[in-house]
Symmetry: C2
Subunit: 347 residues, 2 copies
Amino acid sequence: MSYFRSVIEAMEGYIPGEQPRNGEYIKLNTNENPYSPSPHVIQSLRDHLSSHRISLYPSPLGDGIRKKAAEIYGVPEDWIMIGNGSDEILNLIFRAFLGKGDVVMYLYPTYILYRTLALFQEAEYQEIPFTYDETLPMELIDRPAQLKVICNPNSPSGTFFPIPQMEKLLQVSDCPVVIDEAYVDFSRDNCLSLLKTYPNLLIPRSFSKSFSLAGMRIGILFAHPEIVHGLLKLKDSYNLSCLSQVAAMAALEDIDAMWENVRKIRETREWFTRAMRELSFTVRPSEANFVMVQKGGGNMRLLYEALKSRQILVRFFPEWPDLLRISIGTDLEMKTLLNALYSITGA
Amino acid sequence: MSYFRSVIEAMEGYIPGEQPRNGEYIKLNTNENPYSPSPHVIQSLRDHLSSHRISLYPSPLGDGIRKKAAEIYGVPEDWIMIGNGSDEILNLIFRAFLGKGDVVMYLYPTYILYRTLALFQEAEYQEIPFTYDETLPMELIDRPAQLKVICNPNSPSGTFFPIPQMEKLLQVSDCPVVIDEAYVDFSRDNCLSLLKTYPNLLIPRSFSKSFSLAGMRIGILFAHPEIVHGLLKLKDSYNLSCLSQVAAMAALEDIDAMWENVRKIRETREWFTRAMRELSFTVRPSEANFVMVQKGGGNMRLLYEALKSRQILVRFFPEWPDLLRISIGTDLEMKTLLNALYSITGA
C-alpha cells in the first residue's frame, strides 16, 4: 500500500533531464547559455565569500535584488518576488490559484511543467492546440478558467505572440493570466508595459537563460502587490541562498553583459535557422535561445540518437516525436552540429 | 475580489523573521551557528568558481551529496533526497501525503511551519499539547492520522525524546511519521538506526544549524526509496543550486569541523543554562542549539524589547508570550546577554 495521495501515486516517476557533468558533450538540450555570465558576477561571489558569513540566513525577500530590479525594470519593489528558479514561482502560482477541480488553460505543446503542477493540485488542465502562428486561439481567450498560462516565447517552438494578442487575452480573462517570459530577453518585445493596466497579469522570468545563471537557480516575478503579497504566504521563508542573491544582484548591476550575450545568440540563431532550412528541415521562426526543427513529420528519435553518439545532445521529447528542440550554442558548436547532420543525412 | 484559493486568502500575511544585515546586533533569534563552516567549504566554493561554469544546470538529484552522505550515514544513496533547506523537504512531504480533510498530528508548541503547511493542503491539524517531559503523549501514538510529525529535539523547548519513544510511535502508527531532526546533531542520539526497520519513517535534517550553512539553504531527507521516489515526483527538477551542492559536499567531507563547533555550542549551552537558572529563569533541559526560558509564567515581551534596545535579538513568539527562545552563540555573546539581563533585571 502507498501513503501517497492517489494523484501523486498515479503519476509517472520523475526522470531528470540529461545533465552530463564531464563536459564531453556539446550540450544543446536544456537551453543553457553557452557564454559566461558577467565577470562581475564571479567577482561579487568571491568578494562575498571573503567578507560575509554564509552561516547566516539570507534575506527572506531578496531586498537588494528587489531594489535593483525595480530600478532597471521600472516596477515598484513590492511588485517583485524572487524565486528559487522560475520553476518555484510557477509552483507557487499553481498552488495559490488552483484548487481541486479548478481549470487551468494553456497552449500545447508547451512547457510540460504546467501539466505536472496542475496534476498536483487535482486541477483540470485544458490544453488548447498550438497553431504555430502569432495569433492566440480564440478558445484560450474566450473560455472561462481559474488560471491561464502562456509561455511567451513558447517552448518548444520559440513562437512569440505580439503584445496586442496578450492584451486581448488579459482584457477578456476574468482570472490570473501568467505570461511566462523565461525566454523573453531573446525576443523583440515583452509584456512588462501591460503590468500597470492589468491586475490579473503575472510575469515570471528566469536568470537561467539570458543571464547565463542556470546553476544558481534564480527566478523573478512581476505582478501587482496584492498578488505578490498572497504568493509570499506560500513561499518558504528563505527560498533563495545568499550566494544566489549575490549573483542575481551582480547580474543586474552589469546587465549590459547579458545583452551582449543575447545579441550573439540571436545572430547565431538567424544563420543557424537558414542553414537548417537549407538542409530541408522545417524550422519555426524562433524568438528564444532555441529552435524547433522538424522533417516532413517524421520521427526524430533516430536523428537524436545519431547526434548523441557523436557527443551532441539535443532535446527529443517522447511526447512530441516529430520534433527536436535545439538550443543555440556558440557559432562553433552549431557548426559542429551542422557537420554532424551533413554526415548523418549524407547531404 | 481575490483570485486566491479561499484558504490562502484567509491566512495571515507573511512576516519575515528579523534578519538585520548590518551586523550591529548580537543575533540569538534564529538558531544560526555562531561559528564559521569548515574552511574547506569556503575553499571548495572558490575553487568551483574558478573551474566550473555556473551557467549550467545543477545536478537534479545532487549525485555527489547523495554519494558522500550515503558513505557517512550508512544509508544507501536512493534513500536520500536533497532539498532547498529542510523547509522545502517538509513542504514536499505535506503536499505528498495530505489531501483536503486529511489529518496531520503534531505536538504543540513546535515549529510553526507544520501548521502553515497543513493549512495550504486544507488538512485538519491536531495539535497535541506538549508536556515538556521525555514521554510522548499517548494520543499522538494511538490516534489515527494521515501524517504525524515530531521535531526532535523540539523547538522552542529543546526537548529530546529518547529513541524507544519514537520507536513506539513508529510501531503503532499506520501513516508516515516525520521525525524532524533539524537540530539533532546537538543531541545525545538520533533516529537513523530506526530507518531500516520502519518504512513509514522520514527523517529530514538541515545544514543550517550544526553545519553553519543557513545562508546556503541545504536540507537532506533520509527515507525508504519508495518514499524518496514519490517525493521526487513533486520536487522541482533543479531545486538546489550548484554552489549549495558544492557547499554541502565540502561540509560532509570535513564533518569533523562541524562536530568541533557542535562541541563548543553544547559546552556553552550547559554553562549558560546554569547561569540563567541562577538568575531565577526556568530553563528546560535542551539538546538543541537554543534554550527556552520562562519566568514565573510572565509575559516576556518587555524583556525581549529591552534586550533588543541593547542590540541583542532573541526570539519572542507572540503565540507563546510566556517564553523566549535564545540561540546559543559564542561564550562572549552569551556573557554579553547575561550582563544585559543583570542590568535589566537589577539582579
